[in-house]
Symmetry: C2
C-alpha cells in the first residue's frame, strides 16, 4: 500500500510540472552534472520527494515497532521488518524510471559515519550502566579486542583460501582478505539488545554483549584502516606487531581524547554561568560530544572510542553540573537521535540491496562468507570464554589461598556455557561492516560489497529472528529487574518501577568484580524466590566484619557511579565460606582504588556539588566547602 502510494507520488510529481511552463531559460538553476533528468526544477522537487520517502519509511518502521510491542508479537523483530521495508521500497525505486531518487537514497558511507553512527554511540555511552560496564570490563575487552582480531583473521584466511581457489573469479591479496575479515567482524548490538530489553535478560549478559559490540565496531574500523595502510606492501612478520602497536596506540589515544573532552565540559559547566542559559548549555554539550568524534577521526584516531568515553565521562561528571533542564534535554535528545538513527540504518541497508545498481552477487562467495563468520565467531567466543573462566578461577585461588578443585568447592563459571552460546548467537553483523565495505576499491569491489551486504542482512534475519527462541532453549535468566537501572527521570514511564521483593534486605551495594551465584550462598538462598536470585545476581554480601566502615565508604562511591537515586540494598549472609568470600572481597579491594580516587580527588575538582543522597568523606567535604554553591 505504501509502496503503491509512493509510486503514485512519483508519477504525480512527474506530471505536476507542466512542460510548457518550464523551459531551461537564463535564470534557471544550473544543471547538476550527475542528474540525468535535465529539468532542474524537477530535481528540487525530487529531492523533497526523496526525503519524503525516506521519512515515510522511518515512520513506518517506528509505527511497526509500536505495533509489535503493543501486540506483544515476538516472532518478528522490528529491525527485520525495517530491512524488508527498505528492500521493498528499494526494489520499487529501482524499477521506476529515472535515476534521481535512486541516487538520492543510495547508501553513502560519509552520511553513515558522520551523521547516523555518532548519535547511537553517544547515546550508548550516555545511558551506559557504568557499574555493570566496568564490572565486566575484563570480559568485554577480551571479547572485543582479541575476539575481533581472531574473528577477522579466521574470516580473512577462509576468504583468501576460497578466492585463491578461484571458483568465483575474485582475486584478493592476503591483506585485502584481512580487510574483508575486519568488515565482517563488526557486530551490531541493536537487534539483539532490543530483544534483551524486552525480555529483561540478565544484566551481566546484556552488558557483555553490549560492551563488546560497541567496542568491536571501533576495533573493526581501526583494523580495516590498518590493513589498508599495509596494502601493497610486502607482509612481513614484523608487520603483525606493527599493526598491533598502531592499533593499541589508536585505542588508547582515542580513549584519552574522549575522556579529556568530557572533563573539559565538566569544568566549563562548573566554572561558567552558562547553565543560566539552558538552551545554549544543551547545544554546547551536544556539540562538544560530536567534536570529540570529528576531532578524533580527523586525527586518525578512532572516533567511536572517543565518543563512547566522552559520553561516559559526561554522564559521570558533567551531568551533575548541568541545569536540570539540560539534564533532561540531553537525555531526551540523545535518545531521540539514537532511535531515529538506529531505525534508519536498517532501512538504509534494505534500500541499498537494490539501489546500488552495480552490485555483483556471487552466491558461492556469499555462502562461504556466511559460513566463515559462523566459524570465526565460534573460534573467538568459546576459547576466549574458557580463558576467562580459567583466569577467574586462578584469581580466586590466588586471593583465597584455597585450591578450589582439591576442596571440591564448585564455583560457577564466570561465563557459563549457556552464556557462551548466547554470546555466539549475538554475533549479528551490522551496518558498520557495510559502511566499511563501501570503502573497498579495485575490481573485486562490487562483489565484496554485495557479499558483505547480503551476509549482514542474513545474520540479522537468521540470528536476530531466532534469538528469542535461543533464550528459551538455553535457559537464560529473563525477567531480571535491575534495580540499579532506575531512571532519575520522573517522566520516564518506561523505566521499571522497582519494588524490593524482600523488604528486610538492607545494606549497601558493592563495587565488585562480576560474580555468579556462589556455592556458599546457594543453600542460604535456595529457599528464596527467583526474583531474589535475580536481584542478587552479581552482588556480594556485605560481610559483617571489621571492614564495615570501609565497605560503606566504598559502596557510597559505588553509588556515585550509579544513577543518583540508586537503591541501597543487599542481604545478610547467614552462613558462608568466609575464605572464598574473603577472596572476592580482597580481589575487589584492588579494584576500588579508582572509586576512592574518583570520590576523593576527581569529583570535588570536577563537580560543583556532590549529588544529594550520597555520603562524602571528610576530605571531600572540606574541598566542597570551598567549591561554591551549585546555583549562582
Amino acid at each position: 500500500m505504501t509502496s503503491l502510494a509512493i509510486y503514485a507520488f512519483q508519477l504525480l510529481a512527474k506530471r505536476a510540472v507542466p512542460d510548457d511552463l518550464v523551459d531551461v531559460p537564463d535564470l534557471s538553476p544550473p544543471d547538476d552534472d550527475h542528474m540525468e533528468d535535465s529539468n532542474p526544477v524537477e530535481n528540487e522537487i525530487f529531492s523533497s520527494w526523496a526525503l519524503f520517502i525516506l521519512l515515510l519509511l522511518l515512520m513506518s518502521a517506528l509505527w511497526s515497532s509500536y505495533f509489535l510491542q503493543q501486540r506483544r508479537i515476538k516472532a518478528i523483530h522490528e529491525t527485520v521488518l525495517s530491512i524488508f521495508c527498505g528492500m521493498i521500497v528499494g526494489l520499487i525505486i529501482r524499477l521506476s524510471p529515472g535515476h534521481y531518487i535512486q541516487d538520492a537514497v543510495k547508501f553513502n558511507p560519509g552520511y553513515f559515519f558522520n551523521i547516523l553512527l555518532p548519535p547511537i554511540i553517544l547515546n550508548s555511552g550516555y545511558e551506559l550502566h557504568q557499574a555493570n560496564f566496568f564490572r565486566n570490563i575484563g570480559s568485554i575487552l577480551t571479547f572485543a579486542i582479541p575476539g575481533t582480531f581472531i574473528s577477522a583473521l579466521v574470516v580473512g584466511i577462509i576468504i583468501y583460501i576460497w578466492t585463491a581457489i578461484g571458483l568465483d573469479n575474485v582475486k584478493l591479496e592476503f591483506v585485502d582478505a584481512l580487510a574483508v575479515g575486519a568488515t565482517l567482524s563488526a557486530t551490531d548490538p541493536v537487534t539483539i539488545l532490543s530483544i534483551f530489553n524486552a525480555y529483561k535478560v540478565d544484566p551481566k549478559l546484556y552488558t557483555i554483549i553490549f560492551g563488546e559490540s560497541l567496542l568491536n565496531d571501533a576495533i573493526s574500523i581501526v583494523m580495516f584502516e590498518t590493513c589498508q595502510k599495509f596494502h601493497g606492501h610486502p607482509v612481513k612478520f614484523s608487520s603483525f606487531f606493527e599493526g598491533i602497536g598502531l592499533f593499541l596506540m589508536t585505542f588508547t589515544i582515542s580513549t584519552i581524547i574522549g575522556i579529556l573532552i568530557g572533563v573539559l565540559v565538566a569544568l566549563i559547566l562548573k566554572h561558567s554561568h552558562v547553565r543560566r542559559y539552558p538552551q545554549i548549555e544543551t547545544c554546547l554539550v551536544l556539540l562538544f560530544a560530536y567534536q570529540s568524534y570529528f576531532f578524533s577521526n580527523g586525527a586518525h584516531m578512532s572516533g567511536i572510542v572517543s565518543l563512547l568515553f566522552c559520553g561516559i565521562t559526561l554522564k559521570h561528571y558533567a551531568y551533575y553540573n548541568m541545569s536540570r533542564r539540560t539534564q533532561i534535554a540531553t537525555k531526551y535528545i540523545f535518545q531521540l537521535l539514537a532511535q531515529l538513527s538506529e531505525n534508519f540504518i536498517f532501512i538504509y541497508l534494505g534500500l541499498s540491496l537494490f539501489t546500488e545498481v552495480e552490485l555483483v552477487f556471487k552466491p558461492l562467495l556469499i555462502i562461504v562468507a556466511f559460513i566463515s563468520i559462523c566459524v570465526a565467531r565460534w573460534s573467538a567466543v568459546f576459547p576466549l570464554s574458557r580463558l576467562l573462566n580459567f583466569l577467574y578461577r586462578a584469581r580466586i585461588e590466588k586471593y583465597s589461598g584455597i585450591n578450589l578443585s582439591t576442596n571440591s568447592i564448585n564455583i560457577p563459571d564466570e561465563i557459563s556455557h549457556s552464556y557462551q552460546m548466547m554470546i555466539f548467537w549475538a554475533g549479528l553483523r551490522g551496518a558498520v561492516g557495510v559502511a566499511l565495505a563501501m570503502g573497498f576499491g579495485g575490481e573485486a569491489k562490487w562483489a565484496l560489497l554485495a557479499t558483505v551486504l547480503v551476509v549482514v542482512v542474513l545474520t540479522v534475519i537468521l540470528f536476530g529472528g531466532t534469538t528469542a527462541s535461543m533464550l528459551e532453549i538455553l535457559g537464560i535468566k529473563i525477567g531480571c529487574v535491575d534495580e540499579a537501572a532506575e531512571s532519575d527521570d520522573e517522566f520516564d514511564i518506561e523505566a521499571p518501577r522497582i519494588h524490593q521483593a524482600v523488604p528486610h534486605l538492607m545494606g549497601n551495594r558493592r563495587f565488585t568484580k562480576p560474580t555468579t551465584k556462589v556455592a556458599a550462598f546457594k543453600d542460604n538462598l535456595s529457599s528464596r524466590n527467583s526474583s531474589m536470585h535475580n536481584l542478587l545476581d552479581g552482588e556480594n554480601p556485605n560481610i559483617i566484619s571489621g571492614d564495615d566502615d570501609e565497605d560503606f565508604a566504598g559502596s557510597d562511591a559505588d553509588d556515585l557511579m550509579l544513577e543518583p537515586h540508586g537503591t541501597r540494598n543487599t542481604f545478610s549472609n547467614g552462613t558462608g565460606d568466609k575464605g572464598v568470600l574473603g577472596a572476592f572481597l580482597s580481589a575487589e579491594e584492588h579494584a576500588k582504588w579508582f572509586t576512592r580516587f574518583d570520590e576523593e580527588v576527581l569529583k570535588p575538582v570536577l563537580l560543583d556539588t556532590i549529588p544529594t543522597g550520597q555520603v562524602s568523606s571528610s576530605d571531600s567535604t572540606n574541598e566542597l566547602s570551598t567549591g561554591g554553591s551549585r546555583r549562582d
Copy 2:
C-alpha cells in the same frame, strides 16, 4: 586565535598522513570526481575536519551569545558576530591550499532548504503565542502579502532600470528583475527578535514583525518560483493576475496541508496507545511535522507555510494528547534544532562570502540594490500602515455608529508612527534570500548572487546593530512582561515569572482584536504605573453586562489558545465610553465564532481531555464523558 588553530589543524592533517604508507592501491576507496586532492584517505579525514571546523564555529557563536548576554553587552549582536566569524574563517579557508574543505563548506541551497530552515519554522509555529498572532493576523497578512509584493515590485523596477542603464554590464529581463526583487524581499526575524526578546519589547510589535517575517519568507519563495515559471514568456497584463491567482492558491493549499497533518497527529495520538512509548511518540511527532514540509514542497506548494501551520495546529491540539515526556521532549528538541540552525545560518552566510569562489562583486549594483530595498521597505510599510489605521478607524466607526472625528474622540492608531518606523527598521534581509539567489541561472548569476549576499550581510550589520538605539530613539515600550507568555514548563528558568502588579485585578482575558490604549481608559489609568499599562495593553475591560456568561465562555476559549496555565486577569473599568467600547466588543463577537467552534466542536473531537484549569461548556462535558480517560 581560533582561526590560527584551525589553520594549524589543516597543516597538521596534511602532514599526519605519511606519504609512503598511502598509495592508491586496489582496495582503496574510489576517487570522487570533484576532489582535486587525489588521496581518498585524505578526503575522509578532510570531511571530518570540515565538520569539525563548522561545529567549532557553531560553538564559538553559541559561546559568544552566552558571553554577550552574561556581560549584558548590547552594542554588538551575536548574529553579527557569527557573520564575522564566518567571514574570517571563510577567508582563511579560501587562502589555504587545497579545495576540499572549501567545497565542503560551500553554501548549498539544498542543505539550507531541507535541513536548516525547517527546524526554525517548526519551532516558530510550535512556540507561537497563538492569541497574539491571530489577534494581529490582519496586520500580519497585510504586511506579509501585499507588503512583500510591493517590496519585490519596487526592487525589481529599480534593478531593472539600473541594469537597463547598463553601467554594470548586467542584462536582465523584467521578470528576472522581479525574481531578484523577490529574493531581496524575504526578511529575517532572528536578529531583530532576539533583540526584542532581550528588551522585552511590546508583544504586539513583536508579533507583527515576527508573523510578517515568517510569512514573507514563504511568499518570497512562491513569488520567486512564480517568476521563474514566467521566465522567457511574454509578460502580458493577464500574467499579473495569473501570478496572483497561482500564489493565493499555493498559500491556501499549503495552509490546509499543514493543518490537516496537525489534526492527523492529534487524532493518531488520541486513538492509539502510542503515548505509552514516549520515545516512539516523540519521533513520530517530529517526523510528521517534517513530512508536512517535504510533502508540500514536493507538491509544488509552500513547505514553509505548511510547516508553520502544522506547528501551530500541533501545539493547539496534539500537544494535549501527548504524554508529558513527549510534551517536554518536543519542546526542547524543537528549540535546540532551531537554535543550532539559526546560529549556523549566519555563520554559513559569512563563510559563503569567501568560499564561493566565483562571486563577481559589482559595487555600484550592490549600492543600488541596498538603496532599492530601503526604498521598497519604505513604500511597503508606511502606506500599508496608513491603510490599516484607516480600516481600523472605519471599523470602529461602523460598529459604534459614532463618527470619531466629529466627536473629537481620539483613538490611537492601530499602528502608531513609532511602530511603523520600527517595522521599517526591522526589514533585515536574511538567508532565505541568499538561498533563493543560489537558484539564479544565466550569465548574471554570480554578480546577482554576490549582490544579494552583500546586501543581506549589510542589512544585518547596519539595521541589526542599530536596532537597540532605534528602540530608544523611537520611544518604543520596553520591559513589557507578557503574562500570557508563561511557560508551562517547570524547568524553564528562562521564562519570566509573572507577578501581578496590582493584586485586586480580577476577571478574564478576552479574545479581542488588537487595541492600543483607548482614550476612555486613559483618565482611568493615568494614575497607575507603567507596568500596568503594559499589562493592559491589548486588553479590553470586562464590561459588567448581560454578556458576562458568554464572556466567560469566550475567555475560556481564549485561555485555551494560550499556554495551559495562562493567568486570568483583567481590571475593572470605572468610567468609560460604553459606546466606543461597545464597538470593540461587538466587533469581537464576530471574531469569536472560531473560538466557540473550536471549543465546542473541534476540541472534543480532537483532544482526549480538555486541559485542566479550564471551564468547559456542558456540551463538551457530555462529549468528554464518552471520550475516555487520558491515560489508558
